[in-house]
Symmetry: C2
Subunit: 189 residues, 2 copies
DNA sequence: ATTGTCGTTTGACAATTGTCAATTGACAAG
DNA sequence: CTTGTCAATTGACAATTGTCAAACGACAAT
């Protein structure tokens, strides 16, 4: 909970009573491994701050194969931002890769905070542009790297994360097959 | 100019006097092919709406080779959003791929508009999250597609754009070599 | 202990893409 | 018209990655 406030303060200013108000609006929720926080086709009317566990943002092709766009773990927000803002259907799934715990704001409470706390909206636009830009840069970088470079970079950039997620999901994030990932891992030991 | 207003209205509401105010703050600027709208390492204190031409967002590796993250053409905004918001150095270059014309807002005028027009900030948060999410999705998609699929998708999704940009830049956007792109083009004729 | 399931590894081979150098083509400058 | 420059193409070959099926390992249920 303190982590949530600490994180928000990185993007803007909040006084003590504002922080208290924010905290009073959160609701602790558990999401079991394999369950979804939000689903493609449904409007995402909540935003969650991850306190425990790993989620992935993913989609499926027509044969049911899944692809991972990115992972979100402790001390970061999850939501389908465009669905949340405009109340349009989500484009993708947010799936719990491990058992997770999150602090949830409903859209209603979130909007109330926006009206009560000057700067609340600004904080979230900053978070959004900062995070999306980085996610975008990450995929764009991977596009011009070979598989081994992508994997090494993932290990260096997200220490410990590789051990918390199935290789199948990591492979689909890296844009390679599980077989390739397995071989690459062997060469790096 | 009408296009700018039309574009803004897709993301929020503005009355006539607000539209007039916005228009009064723009400044027409020409950027010649090969010149930069903003450069890595410098703070980007302006935001531009492209009325003519094509820009690319790109970066260089230590050997001077350039890589294209994405293209921005008519009726879209260009800026390094995080540099613009927080006045920190840009991470990348914005280069005119063709002779370009843009309508520019200075950071100062932009901030004034934010204070004068309720909803101005909201419009730009929406644009930012919408655009970045799409750019992110595009690279993420390419990561799991083969080279030919990426190229076909580019042709379908950005009609005419391929003819306006050097293949070298298109290849680096697609994450393939110019040789490969050339061969792929041959097979698709 | 046995079975079944699921994710991971491995092997053999094919397909894709990269590398590097040479060639061609377009086009502007002299 | 000739030359120089730069981007695009092509060829020969190498490296990377994918495909598919089989085997393996961990682990839970019986």
């Amino acid at each position: 909970m303190e982590d949530l406030i600490k994180y928000l303060l990185k993007f803007g200013q909040l006084n003590e009573s504002q922080c208290a108000l924010i905290q009073s609006k959160t609701q602790l929720k558990k999401v079991k491994k394999g369950e979804y926080f939000s689903e493609a086709g449904k409007v995402s009317r909540k935003i969650g701050y991850v306190t425990k566990g790993v989620f992935r943002i993913c989609y499926y092709n027509k044969t049911g194969e899944s692809f991972t766009r990115y992972f979100v773990y402790e001390n970061r927000f999850i939501t389908d931002i465009n669905s949340f803002i405009d109340e349009v259907p989500s484009a993708e799934y947010i799936e719990a890769v491990t058992d997770c715990e999150i602090l949830v704001f409903s859209k209603k409470d979130f909007s109330e905070l926006a009206m009560t706390i000057p700067g609340w909206s600004d904080i979230f636009s900053k978070i959004t542009s900062y995070v999306l830009e980085n996610k975008m840069r990450a995929s764009s970088n991977m596009l011009v790297q070979d598989a081994q470079t992508r994997y090494s970079h993932f290990l260096a950039h997200y220490p410990g994360l590789a051990n918390r997620i199935p290789q199948l999901m990591l492979a689909s994030y890296l844009g390679i097959t599980p077989s390739s990932l397995s071989r690459i891992r062997k060469t790096l030991i």
